[in-house]
Amino acid sequence: MSKRIVAEDVNAYYGSAQAIAGVSLAIEPKSVTALIGPSGCGKSTFLRTLNRLHEVIPGARVEGKVLLDSEDLYGPGIDAVAVRRTIGMVFQRPNPFPTMSIRDNVASGLRLNGIKNKQVLDEAVERSLRGANLWNEVKDRLGKPGAGLSGGQQQRLCIARAIAVEPQVLLMDEPCSALDPISTLAIEDLMTELKERFTIVIVTHNMQQAARVSDRTGFFSLEATGEPGRLIEIDTTEKIFSNPSEKRTEDYITGRFG
């Protein structure tokens, strides 16, 4: 249930403005890859090119290749909707569907993709909630609205919702930036468990978090405001945080920049 992603010369645009330029990197299966960098460096945009969510924004487009194992997500005849079923995503702010209960939120991906069997759905709900370390907290109130949970619980609910469809890859866009430290810790623990089953890519502005949870780290930066963001380097997390090859990475890690 876990695949390798290779990006080849990915460029992304918002209208005429280029957001990222020439990003090429490989993301290993069953590992956590963290993307770090200053604000506006394009790390979130790059993440959104991996499940073709970038192109949802009017005027936005992507050039280049993103290979999932050997299959180009941007190849001719590839369906963006099918790509997104294969690659799940968790967002910066918890966004459970406000009109749905906890159970329906988790089941939403499966149900809306046409799975109706109640037993299958119930099993998937329990499995996903357990997978997101939320089962024990919500098993007695599965029918209650998801919006009634705390911020950290909501985010784990969103993780459960994302993994319920059994994706190959899980993208996380600053999943802890809206959470308190205790909830953040819970999510970080969860990531360590989830990487046994999924390929995880996480964008974070928190370098300690990248150092704690990731196996590999990519550093994005930009030359100046208005310039597109670029991948400066990607390597094992240990190497990036102890002995990066690039001066700019070192400046950023040590707090001299950004």
């Binding site: 499940n51 997104r84 967002f91 569907f97 009109t99 939403s108 991906g109 993709n113 994302a162 469809v165």
Partner: protein, 351 residues
Amino acid sequence: MSATILEQIPGLGDDTRRLHAPVRLALLALTVLVSLLLFAVTPLQGQADFVVFVVVAFAVVQTATSFALEGRRHALDRLLSLGVHLALLAAVVPLVSVLSYTVYKGVKKLDGQFLTHNLTGLGPLDTNGGEYHAIIGTLEQVLMATAIAVPLGLLVAIYITEYGTGWLVSAVRFVIDVMTGIPSIVAGLFIFAFWVIGLHRGYSGLAAAFSLTILMLPVVVRSSEEMIKLVPAELREASYALGLPKWKTILRVVLPTASAGITTGAMLAVARVTGETAPLLLTSFITPATNTDPLSGKQAAIPTFIFSQIGLGRPVNYDRAWAAALTLIALVLVLYISARLLTRRNTLSRR
């Protein structure tokens, strides 16, 4: 040095030189007493005159006192404060007057007989007869208009917000904008020219429903559009990220999230057109008989019933008009208030 400046600012540091609420209340009481006296001994008379006199006198007295004690700035400030409160009063008084007078006049005639009979077979001086045919007409016309305008308006709103690009969307937007400002009588003329005489369909409840649709549609489109836009982009993205195609995202995530607001907008639109008179005169016309078939023939409605009764101008007609006005207001207010109550369940907010 600050002390000398502060001393020049009236009232500051000298609390006795402010017009506190009890003082103002005393001033008001004094004004009322003096006015009562004046109305007793001078030719001044009349309740309305008294109220106007007291208000003007109090404004003068308070401003003068404030000017003397607190200075010009505070005097003007108090005048504005009085002004905005009076403005509110100027809205509430007519509202209460219209509603209470309608109830007062309307209950006289409003009974079971009135609700269950039409106006056929009556001589000009007969006092029986009722608005049954008009109620049937209003219900049918408004239901048909709603059945057309709400789905169509929702689809147009979805088109504008989710699908449209380019000149076509601008054109649709423009047309909806123009429709927002169409006077209701012109909407009636549209359908009269287009349907009644243009396509030779004649008067009918359906024609009336079409003219009401023209008035409802822009309201439904605008409110639905607003509500759809308020659905956070994050929810759409969450849905896309689960691999849902756009149409399912709209149907299962966007519309349910916006549903309370959309329903409120639709109900307000229904409330608005239920009371419309002018377009119906040109499309369903006026008839004393019950016509349950909305597809052909003249059909009565409560607003046109009121209008035609006033035109006849005898006391019995006025009584019927008031009674029908009471049913119409009740119908519209029920719709209006339930729409407002529903707003509270709205999970989306503008701010």
